[in-house]
């Protein structure tokens, strides 16, 4: 919380993240000045996906995103050994390192954008939709956490994988686009897009009132399965860890 005590810094972060989001809103607005719909996705539906993707970024920063920073550096320097000595779940210790307070403003900004989009879309049955949205948002977060856990497990074997941060941010940024609007592409590209579509497009669809059981069950199953697998992979990789600094 020390960052919040420096008013200048905190205001800078508000400006930086707000302009950043505003740029993406302008992008979508520009896109929709050229077309009315993208494969059935209207402007406000796309903005809702952007809001959801941004909300995921904000919530991730407040929870497990710090996992991607400095983890391989810790292994490289041998500082990870200290964590092993502590009587706490090692995955929990590695993933929930600190709260990224600089990104605090991302969450309210995203919620404002979601509210704005929902008001434009006028969905029916908003209460059950919102509950479904929260459940699926949680499942998306779990899926993203699992991807990060799988990637970071490689650090035990390959030590220096600090570029993972850039790769992971690319995935997170992709969630801001309505992946389900992308059609007529090759099967390989389509299969690669499916997990990305689940991250933000499926919760957004539920909030709009479009309940598609296949996608909903698919997302929940994928999130739970990937979490179990990623945890197993992390613990298995840990067994093969020998202090890198030694």
């Amino acid at each position: 919380m020390s960052e919040m005590t420096h008013k200048g810094n905190f205001l800078t972060w508000i400006a930086v993240h707000s302009i950043s989001l505003l740029t993406l809103i302008i992008f979508f607005k520009l896109v929709y000045t050229n077309v009315a719909q993208i494969n059935g996705w209207s402007q406000y539906q796309s903005l809702l996906v952007l809001g959801t993707g941004t909300l995921i970024t904000g919530l991730g920063s407040l929870t497990f995103f710090p996992f991607m920073y400095g983890f391989s550096r810790e292994i490289q320097k041998g500082e990870f050994d200290f964590k092993l000595a502590k009587p706490l779940n090692i995955l929990f210790q590695s993933a929930f390192r600190w709260v990224d307070i600089e990104d605090l403003i991302v969450t309210p900004n995203a919620i404002l954008l979601i509210i704005y989009s929902v008001l434009q879309l006028h969905p029916q049955n908003l209460l059950p939709n919102t509950i479904g949205y929260i459940v699926l948002l949680t499942s998306s977060m779990l899926f993203l956490f699992s991807i990060l856990t799988l990637i970071q497990s490689l650090a035990f074997r390959f030590i220096q994988i600090n570029s993972v941060t850039d790769f992971y941010w690319s995935i997170v940024n992709i969630t801001k686009y309505p992946a389900k609007a992308i059609k007529n592409v090759s099967q390989i590209a389509l299969y690669a897009l499916v997990p990305l579509a689940i991250i933000s497009s499926v919760p957004s669809e539920v909030l709009m009132g479009k309940w598609e059981p296949v996608w909903i069950i698919g997302s929940l199953t994928l999130a739970i399965t990937s979490f179990i697998i990623s945890r197993q992979v992390f613990m298995f990789s840990l067994r093969h860890y020998s202090s890198a600094s030694s």
Partner: protein, 258 residues
């Protein structure tokens, strides 16, 4: 000079030792462009060979993706050095810290360049896409200048770590704001006249869109000379800005690590 050659060799050894790092960083640089290409394909009606103002969307995003990967500079190791206090060790040693980082990044850029050329040749063989020799020379010069601008921009962002705990937000701002005006998020012909005019006053247009236009032979001689002059000016400006920020930052740097 010999010590810098050693740095280059060390960078290359590190690159070979930590090969997976290269895969992640390259994949990270390409994946965003790929999704944008697919997104634009969806917007424009699913035909990758569809042309916009004389060039195909596929070729456009191929070049944008290669240029993006080539000019990508990582600010994180520098910001980490500042934040953790490790920078003090480098400052005490008789070498140029900026040059050292550039030489460590060079093997990544060389490998991406080779991969980019192979990719263009391969795609050209199947689609007939070609870049003339004169356009390739112009493209190379513009990319070299863009590499310089983006490298110093990354250093500038990293330099903010003297004051801020984390600087990734600034990078996100450059990524989004710069993406809008560089032609990565949106081919610039889709920008309304006001924003298009505004983009001429920013560096981003000249870091991706201008090199692509040069490669596709869509810039008149007078415009290309002007474009190169603007790129040189931006390079000079970021170098000066960088010097100012780092001088100010170093004056209060206590190397305690936080």
């Amino acid at each position: 000079m010999k010590k810098y050659w050693q740095f280059f060799k060390m960078g290359f050894q590190q690159f070979l030792e930590y090969r997976l790092n290269f895969v992640w960083s390259t994949a990270g640089a390409i994946i965003s462009t790929l999704i944008l290409y697919l997104f634009w394909t969806a917007i424009l009606g699913s035909n990758p060979s569809r042309t916009i103002s004389g060039f195909s969307l596929g070729n456009y995003y191929l070049l944008i993706s290669i240029i993006g990967a080539l000019t990508f500079s990582n600010f994180r190791p520098i910001a980490d050095d500042i934040w953790e206090g490790d920078l003090a060790i480098d400052l005490l040693r008789p070498y140029n810290y900026i040059l050292k980082h550039f030489l460590f990044e060079l093997p990544y850029k060389i490998t991406r360049l080779v991969l980019g050329i192979v990719l263009i040749l391969l795609i050209g063989r199947f689609t007939g896409f070609k870049i003339s020799v004169s356009n390739a020379i112009l493209l190379s010069i513009s990319v070299a200048l863009a590499v310089g601008v983006k490298f110093y921009l990354a250093f500038l962002i990293a330099g903010l770590a003297f004051w801020f705990k984390r600087v990734h937000g600034f990078n996100a701002l450059i990524f989004n704001f710069g993406g809008l005006f560089s032609g990565e998020l949106i081919p610039l012909i889709f920008l309304p006249p006001t924003l298009d005019a505004f983009s001429h006053y920013l560096p981003f247009r000249y870091l991706a869109y201008f090199p692509v236009q040069l490669a596709l032979g869509q810039v008149a001689i007078r415009q290309s000379i002007l474009g190169f002059a603007i790129l040189v000016l931006w390079l000079a400006l970021v170098v000066v800005l960088n010097k100012l920020v780092w001088a100010k930052g170093l004056s209060q740097f206590d190397a305690s690590g936080r």
